[in-house]
Symmetry: C2
Subunit: 149 residues, 2 copies
């Protein structure tokens, strides 16, 4: 599969586009680690909120049954009315679906919005806002730039 390098300059431009698209208010930003951490950092400062949290997931790939996703380190969202969940890419959608399921159960009164840079059309869920459709393998700057001299 062709790999496409996604540079920092493109990220800055995409975040500028994203904040134009986001047309709902939210009280907190929840980064899906690791992919959403840089994005949540920038957006937290843009929206001037210190309530930038992270959540973790593990995917168990098991050929005997359906892929299973385990969610952990769920932050305390009690004070939020609505939360923006961010990730770099919505690929299969399994992680995002499971996070929304777990958070919806634990915080039934909170409205959750989702934003990603990339989104695959084959995903089981579409984020509320995204920038690009992913048709190739993306190599994000946070994955490769430290390797270069």
């Amino acid at each position: 599969m062709t790999k496409i390098y996604y540079p920092y300059t493109q990220f800055v431009s995409d975040m500028q586009t994203l904040v134009q698209k986001i047309d709902k208010p939210f009280d907190a930003i929840l980064c899906i680690a690791r992919g959403g951490l840089t994005m949540g950092h920038f957006l937290g400062i843009h929206y001037d909120t210190r309530d930038v949290f992270a959540i973790n997931s593990i995917s168990y790939d098991d050929t005997q049954k359906l892929d299973e996703v385990k969610i952990f380190n769920i932050p305390d969202l009690r004070d939020a009315k609505s939360v923006l969940i961010v990730d770099d890419i919505v690929d299969s959608g399994d992680t995002l679906l499971e996070i929304l399921r777990v958070l919806g159960e634990q915080f039934p009164s909170i409205t959750f919005y989702t934003a990603s840079i990339f989104y695959k059309k084959s995903a089981k869920i579409s984020p509320t806002w995204y920038i690009h459709e992913a048709t190739q393998w993306i190599e994000f700057f946070w994955e490769v730039d430290l390797k270069e001299k």
Copy 2:
């Protein structure tokens, strides 16, 4: 006070220097939100660990008493032997000291290391590893780049 812009290219170079300096093993990376999120993201990929977590703090500035720092969203670190705590700058050192105190109480068997990009000599604690001494106000790229056209 003079403000110094800290660009992305400098960050990449500093992270390359930092990973040369870090000479102890660790099982997990803990980002102090928001400042340590981008740094933890890059380092998590460099060290090939999915155990990248975040922790939050609020500082209450009260002229009547000493500054008080409240730590929340403490991740589950039970499985770790040693943890690298990361932040962009160690300024007064109050946040880092309180995080180390709270985590040391909750996880007495874990060894905690700390790394920051900047460190102020007047801070009450020095990180295990840092890159620059801060003598001026730093404007990080994640604080300003979205504002530019």
